[in-house]
């Protein structure tokens, strides 16, 4: 290596060393916020991920049974020691009132397990000595089913794929193979597809409605552009709930939109708009429109107006001057605005909950239902993971194509 190169490297290293205190000072200013976000934002999301794969119930309630099952061959009906261990575990569970917890968890994978566990817990309370196997089989012949035992044994692990599989309409057969859920249990892929479809539709509509607005914003005289900008920013600045409330009122069957449609004789019967997918998409399009307009506008503003004139003076007809010279240059703004709206639309909860019907609820609404009504936290967390993965994938695409520093507010 030439001496000059060595010198250059040494100088470079020396500069880096000299800048170290400054780098550290800069970082230390941001450190409080970084630490805060790690504790109050990243940690809750990580906790959610853990909840989606956590499997504490069986291990906590049936430690002896799981121990006894270790030598079980997996096909025959287990022997007396397994039932004796189950009886001992259920006695403790009855005292600690954890039997219901176990029953609920196993019921996800074996239907009817909740009542079976509770009945067995009540039974063992009255039993002092064995043999237990006969008693369990008399209580319910399903206690002799090797499939049930296989599932109990499988849940002895601290992590489970059960919730994540369920969130993707998959299930694990007793023999461990993964298969597609059939029939009316398979709802989640449908919900995910619906979420993506609604978000896509909203993105498309905001683009169609927003692109001309952004364009006119760039060519309008200053005063008019100012008023137009106000009309774009004011809804953005108004509470989401207020905007949703407005749509709930507008879309009522005796509401303003139906009144107008009737008065114009566009329809003879009042349309059902509230609690429909159409209503949801209209309201979401209204709410997301500014998010699509603003990035497109900020790109359009940087395109010199002289280019269109040059194209025209060189003989291009108006339409090809627009589509071949102007429109391609607006593409970065279109990508930024559409990705932003798509990302935000994926996570909608309030608007579908208030404006949509039961068939229009998106992933977020199902997460909320599983937390609040069904108390199935694992499944709620797993659906959250699916939503988060899809969102982050698109966010990464956004960072790649646009960059985090391009996010502006108004």
């Amino acid at each position: 290596m030439a001496v000059a190169d060595m010198d250059r490297i040494n100088v470079f290293m020396a500069v880096r060393r000299a800048e170290k205190p400054a780098r550290r000072a800069a970082l230390s200013l941001a450190l409080p916020l970084i630490v805060f976000l790690v504790v109050a934002f990243v940690a809750p999301i990580l906790y959610l991920l853990v909840t989606a794969v956590g499997n504490p119930e069986t291990r906590q309630v049936l430690p002896r049974t799981l121990g006894a099952l270790e030598t079980w061959d997996g096909v025959s009906v287990p022997d007396e020691p397994v039932y004796a261990a189950l009886a001992a575990d259920l006695k403790v569970a009855k005292d600690n009132s954890t039997a219901a917890l176990l029953g609920k968890r196993l019921n996800y994978e074996i239907s009817g397990m909740r009542s079976r566990v509770l009945a067995a817990a009540r039974m063992v309370e009255r039993l002092d000595t064995g043999p237990y196997k006969q008693k369990f089989l008399e209580l319910n012949k399903d206690w002799g089913s090797p499939e049930s035992w296989a599932i109990i044994k499988r849940n002895g692990t601290s992590l489970t794929p059960y919730y994540l599989l369920t969130a993707l309409d998959l299930q694990q057969a007793p023999n461990g193979s993964v298969e597609r859920v059939q029939g009316d249990q398979a709802i989640f892929l449908d919900v995910l597809a619906r979420t993506l479809f609604v978000a896509g539709l909203v993105t498309l509509f905001t683009l169609i409605l927003g692109y001309p607005v952004a364009y006119v914003l760039t060519i309008a005289p200053k005063a008019i552009a100012g008023i137009m900008m106000l009309m774009v920013l004011l809804p953005l600045w108004t509470s989401l709930l207020v905007r949703t409330t407005a749509w709930v009122v507008l879309l009522q069957s005796d509401g303003v939109i139906n009144d107008v449609l009737m008065a114009l004789h566009l329809t003879s019967d009042r349309l059902q708009l509230i609690f429909t997918r159409a209503g949801t998409v209209i309201a979401m399009t209204h709410i997301q429109l500014p998010f699509t307009i603003l990035p497109i506008y900020s790109v359009m503003r940087s395109i010199p107006a002289t280019q269109l004139r040059a194209a025209r003076s060189l003989g291009a007809p108006p339409s090809s001057a627009f589509w071949r010279i102007y429109a391609p240059q607006t593409l970065p703004g279109v990508v930024a605005g559409c990705l932003m709206t798509f990302i935000l639309s994926l996570g909608y909860y309030i608007t579908p909950a208030l404006v949509g019907g039961p068939r229009d609820q998106m992933v977020s609404n199902f997460i909320s239902v599983y937390i609040n009504r069904d108390l199935n936290w694992g499944l709620a967390a797993a659906l959250g993971v699916v939503l988060l993965v899809v969102t982050l994938a698109i966010y990464l695409l956004f960072l790649r194509l646009v960059g985090a520093d391009k996010i502006k507010l108004g």
């Binding site: 800069a26 407005a246 520093d405």
Partner: protein, 269 residues
Amino acid sequence: MWLPSYATPSERLMRTLVMAFVIAVLLFLVAPLFIIVPLSFSKDPFFTLPVKEYSLRWYADFFGNARWMNAIFNSAVAAVMTTILATTLGTLAALGISRPNFPARRLIMALLISPMIVPIVIVAVGSYLFFGQFGLTNTRTGLVLAHTALATPFVVITVTATLSTYDTNLTRAALSLGASPSSAFFRVTLPNIMPGVISGAIFAFATSFDEVVVALFMTAAEQRTLPVQMFSGIRDQINPTIMAAATLLLALSIVLFAMLALLTPRRVK
């Protein structure tokens, strides 16, 4: 309309159509917001226009109801606490990020902005499960912590934007003239970036004051905020008192928006 003189007739027609379309879209943007205002002053409990008789009964109902008043109080307290926390943390971070030798800027910026991107339900459920471990669900502290995380990106963005036009030589001049780092900051830097800081604070306040989903998960009846009260109201039985609440929220939004516009006169170009 705003066309060069050489425009063809078809171009003129096209332009007229585009203009009509844009006016329609702008009306679509703004009209729904103001539809709730006359309804909130209606004497009848229906949502039909035109309003036959005006009255203030729904406002009387709103201000006379302990539940609504309690909700306003809760929202205001949470929003003020969120604003103070988020503005302090966000401004400090923006000062760091704006320095030329900030390490791993793209990565850290992506982290700081991510609360804007992550679906709100995930933040809500994660906070509900995680803060529950420390007994912070159904407390104001838990709500403020979650809201602060959501609000900081707005402060970081506005203050960073202001700092990008700030001449750092001013701070250096103050330091070289013998000012201590803290007095250089408070007497030179901060007054210069104040518009950005206040814009960020307004955004933070609005974020917390309008937020529904996290508040739904993190509050019980006692800490219930105004948006949660509205949400449950619409869900159960929509009534005109909610219109009064929505109108007041709209008025607050307009006031905050006007403040913001005054702070940054160059916002509309």
